[in-house]
Amino acid sequence: MQPTESHSDWSRRLARAWMLLVGLTLVSLTAVLGFGHAEAGLPAAAVALVASYFKARAVLDHFLDLRRADKGWRGFFSGMLVAILGGLMATYLIAA
């Protein structure tokens, strides 16, 4: 693989993805811990699952370089994530 992206651009992109992952993790933790340990509640659950989607996309797009793949593949992986995380949100709502 011969990079066409400059060293600094590539480094910055990876660093931004890492910062996004750290930031979204801290947002999820804050949302849930803000409700105490007993029960996070619907808003915190939604924040945690939506944050999980964007974190997974960051790993796929920037660490696994899925951003280089065509729209079909990107849509396929987005669909898988939505199915899993949406399904979990549905089970949460049913149980609530």
């Binding site: 693989m1 011969q2 990079p3 066409t4 992206e5 060293h7 590539w10 480094s11 990876l14 660093a15 993805a17 890492w18 992952l21 750290v22 993790t25 999820s28 933790l29 849930v32 811990l33 340990h37 007993a38 029960e39 996070a40 915190a44 659950a45 945690a48 699952l49 944050a51 999980s52 974190k55 997974a56 790993v59 796929l60 920037h62 660490f63 696994l64 370089d65 899925l66 280089r68 793949a69 065509d70 079909g72 593949w73 898988m80 994530l81 199915a83 899993i84 995380l85 399904g87 979990l88 549905a90 089970t91 949460y92 049913i94 149980a95």
Partner: protein
């Protein structure tokens, strides 16, 4: 489409639609398979929770969110270092690639140490895989994931030793997949309660 169009593995059309994915096509087959297996596991966890909400809430209340959060930060940082290793190798810096990969592996070991602390704490409180349905699923999911971390560490050692770009990309892809699974596992087991 491609910023890095000279991937040996992605130039050929012999893999059909998989040829459009960056890196080694077999690794993408594994990533999709693992997402399906763990996805089924996670949805099973959510379904079991419907029938035992109070038990699951009590079980989740006994988990340490901070340790889970710490492990999330450790794993995403490890993934970043693995991506940096691939970058260094692609830019012809083999020594740098090994250093970045060593950092990724060290954080992988740190993840296992934190997980061991968590398991030891549960054992000290008399909690094990047979305690109830929640903890059976907790140990199966986190244990299965931890085994993937161990396998990933073995792979990182191998591709650090034989550090051709294709090997590094493949080993790092497995590592990112382990990261990806944890990013879904962590909220559903620790946070959504």
């Amino acid at each position: 489409m491609s910023d890095h169009p000279t991937d040996a593995t992605s130039d050929s059309r012999e893999w059909g639609a998989l040829s459009d994915l960056p890196g080694n096509p077999i690794m993408w087959v594994l990533i999709v398979s693992e997402l399906l297996v763990f996805g089924a596991f996670f949805l099973g966890f959510g379904t079991a929770r419907i029938f035992n909400v109070e038990m699951f809430r009590a079980g989740q209340g006994m988990l340490d969110i901070r340790l889970g959060g710490l492990n999330t930060l450790i794993l995403v940082s490890s993934g970043w270092l693995a991506a940096k290793a691939v970058q260094a190798c692609a830019e012809g810096n083999g020594k740098g690639a090994r250093l970045w990969l060593s950092g990724a592996g060290a954080l992988g070991v740190a993840f296992l140490v934190v997980k061991s602390i968590e398991y030891a704490d549960k054992a000290a409180h008399g909690i094990d895989i047979e305690t109830n349905t929640f903890f059976t699923l907790f140990y199966l999911m986190t244990g299965f994931h931890a085994l993937h971390v161990v396998m990933g560490l073995v792979l990182l050692v191998i591709v650090g030793w034989r550090n051709s770009l294709e090997n590094l990309e493949t080993g790092a892809a497995f590592w990112h997949m382990v990261d990806l699974i944890w990013l879904i596992l962590f909220p559903i087991v620790y946070l959504v309660r």
